[in-house]
């Protein structure tokens, strides 16, 4: 390790301990570290945005392209200029024009993605659970697959029904259909609890991995320091 790495490792060591100090309790040093982290993150965001988009996409096309492209590239420049008015509360309304543009495009991309990427494929996947090939003999594996398919289908429908559960439950007199939906919603809750349990375990695993990474770093640094001191 060169000197810069040593300094960096020491800095990382100190910062790691400062963040871990939160386990003892919230303290000013932890908060200072957190704010420094936000500052550094924001700095990287700004630099990457400038290097990757603002300079090559906003300004460069004005100088290098042909005249029609130059005119075309003026539009985002003007819109971006209008967006900067959002910094001032007094002139923020000027930025509503590019914001409306952004919101419209984002909403369309979100709808299109949800329909073509999740809604249709996942509904098809739920239907295809029972697609047993005609030439396939019915054996234990096919039976098991069908049982699993039924469970997945019930779970999916029940989970979806749970989203409607709250609405129907408010009614004082329930129709038979609403009673069914309520019952299905309760089954859906079990599936949701199970999924969230899985998710919880996943998040905990990921957090544990991060913790292990930091502990490994601390141990390695101490070993390096000891090795340097002892020789």
């Amino acid at each position: 390790m060169n000197l810069a790495d040593w300094i960096g490792a020491f800095l990382g060591f100190v910062l790691t301990l400062l963040v871990f100090s939160y386990l003892i309790g919230d303290n000013p040093l932890f908060r200072i570290t957190l704010h420094m982290f936000i500052g550094v993150s924001a700095g990287f965001v700004a630099v990457v945005a400038i290097y990757n988009i603002i300079l090559p996409r906003l300004f460069v096309p004005i100088f290098i392209n042909n005249s029609s492209q130059q005119i075309l590239s003026l539009f985002p420049l003007i819109l971006a200029g209008l967006l900067f008015s959002k910094i001032s509360p007094r002139f923020a309304f000027i930025g509503n024009l590019p914001m409306s543009y952004l919101v419209g495009v984002s909403a369309a991309a979100a709808i299109g993605g949800a329909v073509t990427g999740t809604l249709i494929p996942q509904v098809l996947a739920s239907m295809n659970l029972f697609a047993v090939q005609s030439n396939q003999a019915f054996d234990a594996s096919v039976g098991l697959r069908l049982v699993n398919g039924i469970i997945i289908l019930i779970g999916t429908v029940a989970t979806l029904a749970y989203f409607q559960f709250g609405k129907y439950s408010q009614a004082s007199e329930k129709t038979q259909f609403q009673t069914w939906i309520d019952g299905l919603g309760q089954i859906g809750q079990v599936f949701i609890a199970l999924t969230f349990g899985f998710l919880f375990a996943g998040i905990l695993s990921a957090a544990l991995t991060a913790l292990i990474g930091r502990v490994l770093f601390l141990v390695d640094f101490i070993r390096d320091i000891l090795g340097l001191l002892i020789g």
Binding site: M36, G43, F44, R57, F200, R214
Partner: protein, 205 residues
């Protein structure tokens, strides 16, 4: 003030982009590409505006006599140093990577690390706070998945590995699929409200 121009812009560009998913006309495709490219540029601009605003807010805080001004000074210091170094040398330069490796990653990874303690603590308290069937299902699933995610000292508990795989492939898929469909329906509903002009989060209301 209700401004129909903003609403018209949002609806107009939204419809062009949305139709591009389903219709393949050259004119539509080219128009859609231009609109999307402009949007990416504008999003980058909003990021920059966000950073400028962050700087202004914390500059004001740090120059006034406030109890938390030290935090703002730390933020400004981090921001200025990063902007200076990464801005001058470039974001993937070794100097920038030094800041990234020894400041950013230690702090964020440590934050993720302490999350593990918080999550275990929450898991321990769950049964006390809500002792019901759903909590038991939640905890039981989490414990099974956790045990079988790690190597478990090489011990093979009969049926547990199969149970983990089955949970992952059947009931968890069912629940997640239901949630994904629900989320998608929600996104579609919210997006359509914007494209129909019922919601105007851009200040057109």
């Amino acid at each position: 003030m209700r401004n129909p121009v903003y609403t018209a812009i949002a609806i107009g560009v939204g419809i062009v982009v949305l139709l591009g998913y389903f219709l393949q006309f050259d004119l539509l495709i080219n128009l859609r590409i231009i609109l999307l490219e402009w949007a990416t540029i504008l999003v980058a601009t909003t990021l920059l505006i966000g950073v400028v605003n962050l700087f202004i807010v914390h500059w004001r805080k740090s120059t006034t006599d406030q109890p938390n001004r030290v935090n703002s000074i730390a933020l400004l210091a981090g921001l200025t140093i990063t902007l200076g170094v990464a801005g001058w040398f470039g974001p993937t330069d070794p100097y920038s990577l030094w800041i990234f490796n020894y400041i950013l990653i230690p702090i964020e990874a440590s934050l993720m690390g302490i999350l593990s303690v918080v999550l275990i603590y929450a898991g321990v308290r769950l049964l006390r706070r809500k002792p019901n069937l759903l909590s038991i299902v939640f905890i039981a699933t989490a414990v099974v998945i956790l045990l079988m995610t790690g190597p478990l000292f090489g011990i093979d508990i009969p049926g547990l590995a199969e149970l983990r795989i089955w949970i992952g492939k059947v009931p968890a898929v069912a629940g997640a699929r239901g949630i994904l469909l629900g989320v998608s329906l929600g996104i579609i509903a919210a997006g359509l409200r914007i494209l129909m002009g019922a919601d105007r989060p851009y200040g057109g209301n």
